[in-house]
Symmetry: C2
Subunit: 307 residues, 2 copies
């Protein structure tokens, strides 16, 4: 099994939507990614929380095989986000955002990452992503995620990071915004032209596309009638995909980039894990999830697309 | 090979959009459906045109193995539609609509359809669809298509027809409008509750879903970088699916409804044919299409979804 290091946010979320309100719950890009990855590998979480971070939230992280040595506790409040989903989850509105201790976060890796290891730069300030890239050194396979906010406001830094990224996760609107291409085939090619050998474009309920040197892979989402909270679904997708890749491992960056069947299997499992994640608020559904349930839904996904 | 009877419109279209303007071209739901079906079966077209129907348009229909005996020429102008697609094909606006001879169209089948035959009620007035249903008798496998206009304005008649339909084609917005269910899994189930054992929900660039007694089937669309005209793509999808089913044939309605592998293969070929159809205006791309090209793109579709 290869090393998997995840940097991103650990947060406290307050979510309102068609399924009700969540109360104060554990969230954040690194939380979701590590939680999902931990079903396949043993991710190392690099993030920070404040001294107000609730015991129950820490316990939820400790339930899973996640290495929490890199989770710093800093003076100040934990990163907090409050959001509201419109009816039928058509849009999402940020009600409040308090970066808290992330204002002073200075992520530290102990040492450069060895060949064969995987680094996920979760959605945080691209300047922080670059800082971690510098520490990680040139040997790790680098995956990154972002959001429209950084594409609009830190485009140049983001593009610097992209040139050193091997797998980029974007949703369809972010891919269009980043590349200026409305057509997703052209957008995927344009993302690859910016550096990443692999571009994954997530389309929510419409599934996902992957662009590699071997061509395209398309996977539909599992049609769901239970849906409570899409928050973090993209992080679960990314975390699962990289967890599956780390579990199998590859000798180096080129080994991961060329592993087409592994990348497809990882996307399929990412689709399955995301379908579980959105069924309840936060990581609640993942807390009760079993390997047998994952396997069974993976079989359902195979049956769904078979022809 | 089973009989396939297609009723719908034959029209002259004028299309404006990101790829330019089409000029006066052959269109209509029955045209697209028969054109596509003719690559797999020998469809019988039941429709009408006016005396102004251009020789070139008729010749385009005659190029394909389509039985045109049911194409009536009536006094008056051919049905004409003009539409405009917004940038990136995000929306479609009808600029003008002249029903012409369709105002007086009284579709006639020579005799009831035998068991094993397939009837496609293309998008026309639900009252006309019912008239044809009455003539077709109870033995044929009935597929139907519609648009939001009829769901909004002839709901009761449409629902009467649905109770006698075995396969219903709807796009996602039509499915939501018809059933009042925003969630597509629930919408698909609700459509089936109205009569059709098979519900196909088309999602355009996001592929299609099929709901049957065996469960769900999901297929992504082929990601395309060539895209000129989405007009008729849904009719091509329906025509292909039924053409493939007719080519294989089944003894009776229950035989078609239970033929899960055949239905999936038919959806895959429908996906392929639609991907060709949208590459040029009207049926232009289908006019130059070869069986080898269809086979090759079907292989590409298999490779696209394999994991």
């Amino acid at each position: 099994m290869a090393d998997l290091v995840v940097i991103g946010s650990v947060a406290l979320d307050n979510i309102e939507g068609p399924a009700g309100t969540s109360g104060d719950i554990l969230g954040g890009s690194a939380t979701y990614a590590c939680y999902a990855a931990s079903f396949f590998a043993r991710p190392r979480l690099v993030a920070c929380v404040g001294k107000d971070f609730p015991v129950a939230a820490r316990q939820a992280l400790e339930e899973r095989p996640i290495d929490l040595a890199g989770l710093a506790t800093l003076d100040g409040p934990t990163f907090r986000w409050a959001g509201r989903y419109a009816p039928a989850f058509k849009t999402r509105e940020t009600l409040s955002l308090d970066l808290g201790v992330f204002m002073q976060f200075n992520p530290k890796l102990d040492r450069p990452l060895p060949a064969g290891s995987i680094l996920l730069l979760g959605n945080i300030d691209p300047d922080l992503q670059l800082k971690v890239l510098d520490q990680a050194g040139p040997a790790a396979f680098v995956a990154a995620d972002t959001i429209d906010h950084w594409i609009l406001n830190k485009r140049e830094v983001l593009i610097k990071g992209l040139a050193r990224t091997h797998l980029m996760f974007l949703n369809d609107e972010e891919a269009r915004l980043l590349t200026g291409e409305d057509n997703l085939v052209k957008a995927g090619a344009a993302v690859r032209g910016m550096g990443p050998k692999i571009a994954v474009i997530k389309k929510g309920e419409h599934g996902a596309l992957m662009f590699t040197e071997r061509g395209l892979f398309a996977i539909p989402a599992l049609p769901l009638d239970q849906f409570a909270d899409p928050t973090g679904a993209g992080d679960v997708f990314a975390g699962t995909m990289l967890g599956v890749m780390a579990a199998k491992g590859a000798p180096d960056i080129a080994g991961y980039a060329a592993a087409d069947p592994l990348l497809r299997e990882a996307m399929a499992k990412a689709t399955v894990m995301s379908s579980f994640a959105v069924a309840e608020f936060g990581v609640n559904r993942l807390r009760s999830l079993t390997p047998a349930q994952i396997e069974s839904r993976l079989e359902a996904l195979r049956a769904l697309v078979r022809f």
